[in-house]
Every structure is written in C-alpha cells, then in structure tokens.
C-alpha cells in the first residue's frame, strides 16, 4: 500500500499549474485534498508520474453573479455548511453535503476533486447534474465550459482532457420561491450511497413552476428524470402525491445490483428515497408559503 514513485510539483499559481499539466499531459494529476487520489495511489490503482499540488492556487471563492453561484474548484466541502449563499440558493446541495463521508473528508476534500473523481454515487456530482451546472475547465489553450450532464462519462470517467484542470463550477440559482431536498442511504453513516435522490422545486402561488431531479445509484453517473420533472411541472404543491411519484421513479430506473445490494432492492430504495425527498421539498415549500 505504497504509491509508485512520482514527481511532486507545487504549483505557484494557476498558470504554473496549467503549464505543468500541459508539460506532463496524461502522466500528471492535480492534487488538492487527496481524499480519493491518495488511497487510489496507495492501492496503485492510480499511478500518476507527476502530481501537481494546486493548494496554493486560491480558487476558493463562492460568489453570486448573474443569477448563478460560481464555486471555485478548491472550495472544501465543509465550507458549504456555513455559507449564506449556499443556504439561500442551493438548499438541496446543503443537505447533500451532510452525507459526504466523514468530517475529515469534508474538511479536506474539494469540489474539483470530487467532480473529477466522479464516483457514481457521490453527492457533489449529483448536485452538479441536479442544478444543470456548467463546469469550467482551463488549460494553457484557454477555457471551456461543459454542461454537467456531458461532463460525467461513466464511473470514474469525465470529460477532462490531458492538460486540463477543473477551475470552477457555475451553479444556476433556482429562480423565485424554491425548495430543495436530498435523501440518501448507505449501510453506515458516511458510506458510499446505495442510492440517492435530490430535487429542486421552483414554485409560485402554490404551483410548481419548474422542477429538477437527480438520481444517484441508478446508473454509473447521476441522472436527471425528465418524466418526473414534467409530471411535477404545473402541479399544485398541496396536491403533490410524493409516494406515487416515488413509485413512478421505480418504474423508470433499472439499477444494477452488486455483491452487497440486490438490483431489486436498489431500485425500490431509490423510489422510496425519491418519494421522501419530494415529500420534504413539498412540505418545505408549503411551510414557506405566506
């Protein structure tokens, strides 16, 4: 459980980091919190020749701009728990963060690290998909933005190209009155989720104007459920039958089983979590009504 030999670079600033990544291409990996990469290196599942330490780059702002939150790649998970912008605009994300690992992981892990690691049931990738976030990638050639739903290519696979680094994520803020909820279950607190479900409801006058949903554990990447979102749109909050929609979720997904969790169970679990998340988002919205 010792990594293979690698060269460690401490980047002074973003340009330096991008130059190092450009120079070493596929052989280089940025490292910040190291919560996933270091264990994978110790198990020799990841074998980078070069590590580019990006801890000195800053990139840790959370700012509001043009109806969106711009969150720096280096923002550590525990920051969300006390950030007023997150509390106001991304309540589902705030809930999801509580489910990320353990305090040490939340203290060290970063947004960029979590998204680029792309664990199939990780919380922050699910939140990026839920909110239709745009992911900003930088390289010496410039910057590009990728929609979250195109960013995740499979389990532990993303659209990040050699020489590129995730620098920030743009989360569009839900518009008008809104509520959000996130439900997850693992065997133990802090475990990888067996399934998860997140929802955002934008509503006006007791009617859902627009809804977004995300489902973790159904596929190798987080997925939106457009059928459920369409069913929610135009519904009254009071008339929302969350349990029935949860059952509908069950009908829309076909998750895989593994040696710990049967496919049948995972499917029912996600449906149940969907019902609970929808119920809570509805209740929160109703309670906030004047």
């Amino acid at each position: 459980m010792r990594p293979k030999e690698f060269v460690y670079h401490r980047a002074r600033d973003l340009d330096h980091a991008l130059a190092l990544l450009a120079e070493h291409g596929e052989e280089a990996r940025p490292i910040s919190g190291g919560q996933s990469l270091v264990p994978m290196m110790n198990l020799r599942l990841a074998r980078p020749d070069h590590l580019v330490d990006v801890n000195d780059l800053g990139l840790d702002e959370i700012r509001e701009e043009a109806g969106a939150l711009h969150v720096g790649a280096m923002v550590r998970h525990e920051r969300y728990l006390t950030d007023p912008l997150i509390r106001r605009h991304l309540p589902a994300l705030l809930e999801a963060v509580h489910w990320i690992g353990h305090p040490t992981i939340r203290r060290n892990g970063t947004l960029g690290g979590s998204l680029c690691h792309a664990d199939p049931t990780a919380e922050l990738p699910a939140m990026a998909v839920l909110h239709g976030a745009r992911i900003v990638l930088a390289s010496t050639a410039g910057r590009r933005e990728v929609a979250a739903c195109d960013f995740f290519k499979g389990a532990y696979m993303t659209d990040v190209q050699p020489g590129e680094m995730l620098v920030s994520v743009i989360f569009p803020c839900p518009q008008g009155a809104h509520s959000g909820a996130f439900e997850e279950l693992g065997e133990r607190l802090g475990d990888f989720a067996m399934g998860s479900f997140g929802v955002v409801l934008e509503h006006e006058g007791g009617v859902i104007r627009r809804a977004a949903t995300v489902c973790g554990g159904a596929k190798m990447t987080p997925i939106r459920l457009p059928e459920i979102e369409a069913a929610l749109q135009g519904q009254t909050l009071a008339g929302l039958d969350a349990a029935a929609l949860g059952d509908r979720v069950t009908g829309l997904i076909a998750p895989a089983g593994d040696f710990q969790v049967s496919a049948e169970y995972r499917r029912a679990l996600i449906g149940e979590l969907a019902g609970r998340a929808l119920q809570r988002a509805r209740d929160i919205a109703l309670n906030a009504q004047p």
Binding site: M1, R2, K4, E5, P39, L43, R44, L185, E187, R188, L189, G190, D191, F192, M194, F259, Q260, V261, S262, E264, Y265, R266, A268, L269, E272, L273
Partner: protein, 779 residues
C-alpha cells in the same frame, strides 16, 4: 494502624496503561526500527487455485544488490504444520512460500527484500508467477462434492475432518417428542480486524548466535518454540517480544508462517528484516473466521421441554490448517458448546471442516461460539414461535437451575446466575416489549426485541487441550514477581496485553496480596523473558494469569511478613501489610516501610532473621480446571427497522453478565462493550465475499464494513457476581463474551420485528428489505 489501602480487587481503578496508549507513547511493531534493516514485501498469489510452474524473478536482476528475493525453491521444507491428532483427519502443510500449488488469493509466493519499503513494493511488482490454472473450490457444496479434485494431491476429498460427539439417547428423545423442529442457520465469513495489522521484525546476532524477533502477536512463547523447532535453533538463543499490540482479537493468537519466514530471512541475509502487513494483506490473507452452517433438529415435549438435539455442523476452513488450533478446532468447538445453558440429556453432533480455496479460517473472539450461540438461540426462538410460547418463558422452562451441572457431553458447569440473568433481562426489557407491540402491523416501521442467553467456557486449561488433541497441548499461565530494593515490584507476566487492561488488573491483584500500591507495580508482558506461557487468548488472562500473580505475590508477602516481624520484634501472625508498610495489628505506631523490608532482603541482608535466604521473588503458575469455568450472560437487542428501506437502527443494547469475581468493573465493562461492538459488526455488516473464481471482493474498508460509532447505541452492562471455586480469585473469563451474543440477539430482534425467522447473517439493509418483503408476502 489499620490497613489503609483500600482493597484493589473489585475497585474501579483507571487503567494504568492508558496514559501511554492515549498520548502516543506506545511502541507498536512499526516503531521497532533496527539500523541497517531490510524491508520485506510478499508477492502473493492473485489466483485462488493453480499449479505453480515457475516464479520468474529475472527482472529483479537489474536491481541487485539493493534487492534480494526468496521463493519456494529457496526455503527447503520450511512450513506451517498444524495437525490435530484425530485418526480421521487429513494432513497438510503450508510451505512458508508456495511450492507446487497455490491454494488461495493472498498465499505468499515470494519474499522480496529491499533497502526501503517503497523499493520492496516496486520490486514485488516485477515478480511473475507462471500458473497452470485449476478449478477453484469456493463453496461448501463444491467442497462436499466427491467429483471435485482435492486441494492436496494425497487427499481423498476436501474434508479436513468429520467426527461425531454424542451423549444420551437421542432415539428415545425423538420418540418422546411432540414437536420436531428442524432449521438451518449460517454465519458469514468475517474476522476480527485490529487497527494494527500483523508485523514482524527479526534480527540475528551471529556473535551471540542469538535471534531476536519482534512480532505483533498474542503468544510470544509459542512463536519462539515454533521458530526454534522449524529453524533448528536452540530455544535459549531466541527471544520473542510483542511490543504494544494494536488489537489482537484472537486473530493474532496463531503462529504465522510470516513470523518464521522473516526470522529465516534475517539469518540468511545477516541483516535485520522487517515486514509490516498492509490492510489489503490483512483483509485477504491474515486470518478469516466463522463461515459456519448448522442444521439443527430439536425434539420438544408437549409441555415445551427440550428433550434432545441433533446437530450437523459444517465450517469452511479454507486452504490451510492454522497453528495451534488447527483446521478441526472451529467445527469441534461448535459441536462441543452447542448444548449451551439448557437442561437436556440427549445430543448428537456431526461436525466437519472443509477445505476451500479461501484464506485459512482461525480463531477470532468467541471462537465458534458466536456461531453456535446464533444457531442455538435462533432455534430457541423458532421453537417458541412454533409451539406458541413466549421466548423467555420457554428458555426459563429449559434453563439449567442446579449446579454443578453435568451436561450431556459430560462437561461440568460450575455455578452461575442463569435464571437470575434471564429474569433480570425480562424486567429491564418490559418497556421495549411494549414499544414493539405498538408497532406490530405497522406498514412502515417495526420495533423488535431479541435476546441471546448463553454460557461461555472460559479458563480452559491443559486437560481441555489434551482432550481435544490440538497442538496447543497446554494451558497454564505463569508469572514471576520480584520486589526490588526500593519496594517497587516487577511482574514478568506470561500474558500479552493487547487491550485487556492486564497492566492494571494484575497490579491490582498483586497490590492486595503485597500491601504495595499499584503505582509501585510494573507489569512487563509480551516477552519470552517472562516464564513460559501460551499467551493471551481464550478468556484466560484474568482467572489464570490473575491467579498466578496472586499465588506468587502471596508467597512473597509471607516472606515480607517474616522479615518485618523480625525487624519489629513482633509475632509473625500479628504483622499485616498495607499502604507500602508492614505493621503490627492494632498498634499503628509499630510499622516498617516495605522498602526497608525489601532492602533488608536484597542488600542489607545482615538484618534478616538467622538462616533466611536473601531475595524477594517468586514464580507461580495456574492451569485451567478440568472443564474450565463457565461465565454466563444474556444479551438483548432492541431494533427499529424501516420496512421501506431496510435500514435497521439499534435502539438499545443490554448485557446482563456474570464473570465471577470482578477484578475491575471498568475493565469488565470495557471488555464487554468492545466485544458487543464487534458482535454488532458480525450481525450487520462484516463479510468477506469471494466470487466464483475465488477472488476476494472485500479487500479494503470501502467494501469490508466495520461497525462505526454512529451506528452503535449506548451499551448497558449489568452484573451478577457468582465467584467460582475453580480459580484462585473466583474470577471467570470474560474477554470474549461480549462478541458472542450480538448476532443471535439482533437476529432474534429482527425475527420479532418482522415476524419471520432469520436464518443467517449479515443482516444488511438489502437483506432486511428482502426479509420484510417476504414476510409481507407471506413467504
């Protein structure tokens, strides 16, 4: 002056070792850093079953001399041999490095030694084995199939051993029965996982021809004897030291091939050699445990009396027989203890140990008893359900009430508090039964209450091991005490303390006998410099080790009283010891410091009575009674199950236990709670899973799920104290009991909650959801 020292035995003394352990001053195996040390990395088999045609180390040639490698070709006949002397048993050895065949993923194939641990790991990746693949044996069914090729060329099938135990007239019991209840129960493969894995450091001094071995072990003397015999060295020139050991749980209560091989490598290379097990090795190739399947058939009278029991016990032992408890130990223990705390006199057990291409199965806290108690106590609930009795009432009807009790196999149980513990538990749980009733029929959520009532044979000694014919052979524990010139005491204890609190409890025991306060008593342990003993395991340290310390201390106390009587010019009979002084009863002014007494015994011997020999040292040993001494306990779990997600929450966990004389209540409670947490892991999560190719799927803590604090409820511990006459202090063993009850208690609680008989563990959310679904659908 009255004896001012409060009685130490039974007092809530904070652990004397904790300041060291909690402030980072402990020295574990990886802290042993000899100069000029070579680091060893094992190349381990990545396939479960194959003929080993060749091990290619040619790529390491470029790295020499910085890297040295040994393979099976280099080690001659060095092997692990652990044979239980049963005529039916098939014999097999494990070469220290594989020769001819590999039999499980993780079996050592080569040892790579390098100047640093990183280089060793890089070099190990450059060793390649050439295999001719064989079909792996990965299930009990395959192991029992006569068409499947045996794991060893000279074997006739894949059964290590199959034997029977019986007592009484089972035919008559069956004939008299109004109910015959037959069930099959299983416990999954899992193990004790210490925070610190294994590790060995060895150094050979060619001038003295002296070998020093440090190992994270529970049994230094047995390691020494095995190394001496296998390497042909005089035992007088070997010292084995267990430094601070970061958890053992019985898993480090075996002699491992790695221990012998690292010592051999140190002699071969003339350099100190160090091997520190990593977590992946620990989970796939250290030692596994449990993996039982029991089919039980109970014969019950119309009035609800248990008349007889038939048991068919199968254990998957894996690829090799571990030393010293052997491949027959686990299944034999299950057969032996299955009758439990119940009064019936007809029993017949068939037990067998199977060989499969999996990690060897060895001892883990409880040793077979968690599985036996799981089956026994699940069966008691299933019988009660079937004949329509309350489970506790059914147990009370069948529980043993008179002592000593001679059980169906002839074992004698010393007195305990079986009935009292059950009644106390019933009283404690009354509100929980009410809570459970309130959720009966609830479509979303159920509360259930379950108990496990059991006894635990502790303080096993020589008679028990000779009867079982295991290589351990003996069971006494010895201690040597020495009072120094300043009145401080050194105890050289033949035990090894890896969490038992022995540095505290043994000081308490010595303190009461010597009148010397515990702060002046140093307990040295885990070192073959202490008198020969078989180590710490099997719930024996308190009753036997404590007994040995008590006897040796009592002998020294007698001599100190004689010296003090001479110095005080008082009759010996009037001299008492306490608070580091010897004083004359009822005359507080007439005293002498024990430091002065000690100095008189060792330095100023002119002050000794005429003809008395100098010195203040004594050695004693205590062996286990013929059938051991039986602790008893009732565990109770209250579970809350979310039927729609399968999520189980433990609302309450209660232990009512009796381990005889309590040496230190804090230590007893700590031992019980630690054991219960491990037992909760057994019940709910911990599982080594292999696929059909024999590949382990659970080789990191991401997949092998240990209990963690958020899921563990407050564990209430209540005590009865029935001292035994079979050990010097009245103490029975208690180290393992905590881990024995939880799988049964939790499974019974789930059975109660879901109204469906649970047949196995682990009870993960997925399993519970399916159980709830089956119950709902009337399955």
């Amino acid at each position: 002056m009255k004896a001012e020292t409060p009685r130490q035995i039974g007092a809530r003394v904070l652990r004397l070792e904790d300041p060291r352990l909690l402030s980072g001053r402990a020295r574990y195996i990886d802290d042993i850093r000899p100069a000029n040390c070579l680091h060893l990395k094992f190349v381990r088999a990545q396939v479960a079953h194959a003929r080993l045609l060749d091990v290619d180390t040619s790529m390491l040639a470029d790295l020499e001399p910085a890297v040295t490698v040994f393979t099976g070709k280099d080690i001659g006949k060095l092997s692990m041999k652990s044979h239980q002397d049963y005529p039916e048993m098939q014999y097999a050895e494990q070469p220290l490095l594989a020769q001819g065949r590999v039999r499980f993923v993780g079996e050592p194939i080569a040892a790579v030694l390098a100047e640093d641990a990183y280089l060793a790991e890089d070099a190990a990746e450059m060793v390649f084995a050439d295999f001719d693949f064989l079909d792996p044996v990965t299930t009990m069914e395959q192991a029992l199939d006569p068409a499947v090729q045996p794991l060893f060329d000279h074997w006739k099938n894949n059964t290590w051993v199959e034997r029977q135990m019986k007592g009484g007239d089972l035919q008559a019991a069956r004939a008299a029965a109004a109910h015959v209840i037959r069930r099959t129960y299983t416990n999954q493969r899992h193990t004790g996982v210490p925070m610190e894995g294994r590790g060995v450091v060895a150094e050979y001094d060619p001038g003295q021809r002296f070998l020093t071995v440090w190992s994270s072990t529970q049994m230094p003397h047995l390691v020494r004897t095995y190394i001496a015999e296998e390497l042909g060295l005089p035992e007088s020139r070997i010292r084995v030291i267990a430094p601070d050991v970061g958890g053992g749980f019985g898993v480090k209560g075996q002699v491992f091939g790695e221990e012998v091989l690292v010592a051999w490598c140190a002699i071969q290379t003339g350099r100190p050699v160090k091997w520190i097990e990593d977590r992946r090795e620990n989970l796939m190739a250290s030692i596994h445990a449990r993996d039982h399947r029991h089919t039980l058939e109970a014969y019950v009278s119309a009035e609800g009396r248990l008349l007889g029991l038939k048991a068919d016990i199968t254990v998957d032992i894996g690829a090799y027989s571990t030393y010293p408890f052997s491949a027959a130990g686990e299944s034999g223990m299950a057969a032996k203890v299955m009758p439990g705390p119940y009064d019936f006199q007809a029993y017949e057990a068939t037990f067998r140990s199977l060989a499969t291409n999996k990690c060897p199965n060895g001892t883990y806290r409880g040793v077979a008893r968690p599985s036996a108690v799981f089956s026994q106590e699940r069966l008691m609930d299933d019988i009660a359900r079937e004949i329509g009795m309350d489970p506790i009432a059914f147990r009370l009807k069948n529980i043993i009430r008179t002592f000593p009790y001679r059980n169906v196999l002839g074992f004698s149980y010393d007195p305990g508090s079986y009935v009292e513990s059950l009644e106390k538990t019933r009283e404690l749980l009354a509100p929980d039964f009410a809570r459970a009733s309130a959720t009966a029929g609830d479509p979303n959520r159920r509360i259930g209450v379950g108990i496990a009532c059991f006894i635990e044979q502790t303080a096993h000694g020589t008679p028990d091991f000779t009867r079982r014919r295991v290589p351990i052979e003996t069971g006494y524990i010895a201690a040597r005490l020495e009072v120094m010139t300043d009145g401080h005491v050194l105890i050289d204890l033949g035990l090894q303390n890896h969490g038992q609190g022995l540095e505290t409890t043994m000081a308490q025991v010595a303190s009461d006998a010597l009148g010397i306060t515990p702060d002046r008593i140093y307990v040295r342990h885990g070192d073959t410099s202490a008198p020969y003993s078989v180590g710490t395991w099997g719930s024996r340290g308190g009753p036997l080790g404590g007994g040995a310390v008590h006897l040796a201390a009592t002998e020294i106390a007698g001599k100190m009283r004689a010296i003090a009587a001479h110095l005080l010019q008082a009759p010996v009979g009037s001299v008492q010891l306490g608070d580091n002084k010897a004083f004359v009863s009822d005359q507080p002014d007439r005293f002498v410091d024990l430091a002065y007494v000690a100095r008189s015994a060792l330095r100023n011997v002119d002050r000794l009575p005429e003809g008395m020999a100098p010195g203040l040292a004594a050695e004693a040993s205590v062996d286990g009674p013929k059938d051991g001494s039986y602790s008893n306990a009732v565990h109770a779990a209250v579970v809350d199950i979310d039927l729609r997600t399968g999520k189980l929450k433990l609302l309450r966990y209660v232990v009512v236990e009796d381990c005889g004389t309590i040496l230190n209540p804090l230590v007893v409670d700590g031992q019980v709670r630690g054991g219960v947490v491990q037992g909760i892991g057994s019940a709910l999560w911990e599982h080594f899973v292999y696929d059909a190719e024999g590949q382990p799927l659970t080789t990191s803590f991401a997949d092998y799920l240990m209990p963690q604090a958020p899921e563990i409820p407050m564990i209430e511990v209540h005590h009865f104290e029935t001292p035994t006459s079979l050990t010097p202090l009245g103490a029975k063993g208690l180290g393992e009991g905590g881990a024995i009850g939880p799988p049964a208690a939790i499974a019974n609680a789930v059975t109660h909650a879901l109204d469906i008989g649970v047949t196995g563990t682990p009870l993960t959310a997925s399993v519970l959801w399916h159980l709830a679904k089956t119950a709902r659908e009337g399955g």
